[in-house]
C-alpha cells in the first residue's frame, strides 16, 4: 500500500503529511525546551546570587565559569551548519546531487565539530569538579546543553542516513527525497534555533 500525501499537498491541510507531522513534533519540542527554560528562569529569579557558591568559590557571573569564546565558536559552527543544510535542499531543487552530497557532508561535519568542542568543554568542567549536583546553575546548564546535545546527535544520525543509504531514493523518487531533506532541515534549523537562545541566556547573563 502506498503512503498517501508524501509529496502532494493534502487537500484539507494544504501541505504534505510529512511537513505537518514535523511541525507538530517541533511544537512538542518547543514545550519540552520551554519547560526547561522556565525552570531556568524560576531558579535564576529565586536565587540571591547567580551562579553563586560552587564548592569554596563565589561566582558573580556565569561567564566566570563558562568559556564565552568557545560558546561563540559553537554558535558560528551551528549557524554555518544551518546554511549548509538549506543549501543541500536547494541543490536538490536545482537537480545537483553532487552538491547535495557536499553540503550534507559539511552539515554533518559541523555537527560533529560542535559535539567535539562541547565534549572538551564538559571535560574541562568535570576536571574542575563542576558536576550537575554541585549547584542549581550547573544542574540547569548540564540539563539544557545535554538535552540540546542529544538533539544534535539525533540530527547527525538522520542526516547520515540521508547522506548514505537513504540517498538511493534520489534515483527512484527524487521529489520525495527532496521533501525528506526539507523535513530533516526543519528539525536541524530548530536545533540551531534552540542554541541561539541557549547561548546568550546561559553563557552571557
Amino acid at each position: 500500500m502506498e503512503i498517501p500525501y508524501t509529496v502532494a499537498a493534502r487537500p484539507d491541510t494544504g501541505v504534505n503529511n510529512a511537513k505537518l507531522g514535523v511541525w507538530l513534533f517541533l511544537a512538542s519540542e518547543v514545550m519540552l525546551f520551554g519547560g526547561l527554560f522556565s525552570a531556568y528562569v524560576f531558579l535564576r529569579v529565586g536565587a540571591p546570587e547567580w551562579p553563586g557558591m560552587i564548592g569554596d568559590h563565589q561566582f558573580a557571573r556565569s561567564s566566570d565559569i563558562l568559556n564565552i569564546p568557545i560558546g561563540f565558536f559553537d554558535t558560528l559552527v551551528l549557524i554555518a551548519s544551518s546554511v549548509t543544510m538549506v543549501m543541500s535542499w536547494a541543490s536538490l531543487k536545482m537537480n545537483n546531487f553532487g552538491k547535495y552530497k557536499l553540503y550534507m557532508s559539511l552539515t554533518i561535519l559541523c555537527a560533529v565539530i560542535f559535539l567535539v568542542v562541547k565534549s572538551f568543554e564538559y571535560g574541562d568542567k568535570f576536571s574542575h569538579g563542576f558536576y550537575p549536583a554541585e549547584s542549581s546553575f550547573l544542574a540547569i546548564y548540564f540539563t539544557l546543553t545535554g538535552l540540546h546535545g542529544l538533539h544534535v546527535i539525533g540530527g547527525i544520525i538522520v542526516n547520515s542516513y540521508l547522506l548514505g543509504p537513504g540517498s538511493k531514493m534520489w534515483k527512484t523518487d527524487g521529489e520525495r527525497f527532496t521533501n525528506r531533506i526539507e523535513i530533516a532541515g526543519l528539525y536541524w534549523h530548530f536545533v540551531d534555533l534552540v542554541w541561539i537562545f541557549l547561548f546568550p541566556t546561559i553563557y552571557l547573563l
Binding site: M87, K93, F137, P200
Partner: protein, 105 residues
C-alpha cells in the same frame, strides 16, 4: 518557499541564505560584544533576548521557510506560542506565590 519550483527561483533564495548567514554571524558578534560591556542583569537580559529573537526570526522565516508557509502551519505555531506563554506565566506566578524562601543557587 516550498512552492518555489524554477531553478531561477531557487538561485534567488540561495543569495538570500548567504545574506541571512552573514546577518546571523554579525548579530552573534554583537551579542558577545554586548556581554563584555558588563551591563546589569535587566538591560543585559533585554538586549540578549532582543538579539536572540531577531536571530531566531531570521532562521525561522528564511531557513525554515516560515515567510511563505501555509495557514495550518501558522495555526500550529500560534497555538504552541500560546501554550508556551501560559507555561512561563504559570511558572513565574508560582514563584510569586511562594512563602518567600530563597532558592539555593
Amino acid at each position: 518557499m516550498s512552492d518555489a519550483t524554477s531553478v531561477e527561483d531557487i538561485k534567488k533564495h540561495v543569495r538570500v541564505y548567504i545574506t541571512v548567514f552573514t546577518a546571523l554571524a554579525a548579530l552573534t558578534v554583537v551579542t558577545v560584544a554586548v556581554a563584555y560591556l558588563n551591563l546589569t542583569i535587566v538591560p543585559a537580559l533585554i538586549v540578549a533576548l532582543f538579539i536572540a529573537t531577531i536571530k531566531g526570526s531570521l532562521v525561522a522565516c528564511y531557513f525554515m521557510h516560515l515567510i511563505s508557509e501555509k495557514k495550518i502551519i501558522y495555526a500550529v505555531l500560534i497555538t504552541t506560542v500560546a501554550f508556551l506563554l501560559a507555561l512561563f506565566i504559570l511558572t513565574i506566578g508560582s514563584y510569586h506565590d511562594q512563602y518567600g524562601g530563597k532558592i539555593v543557587p
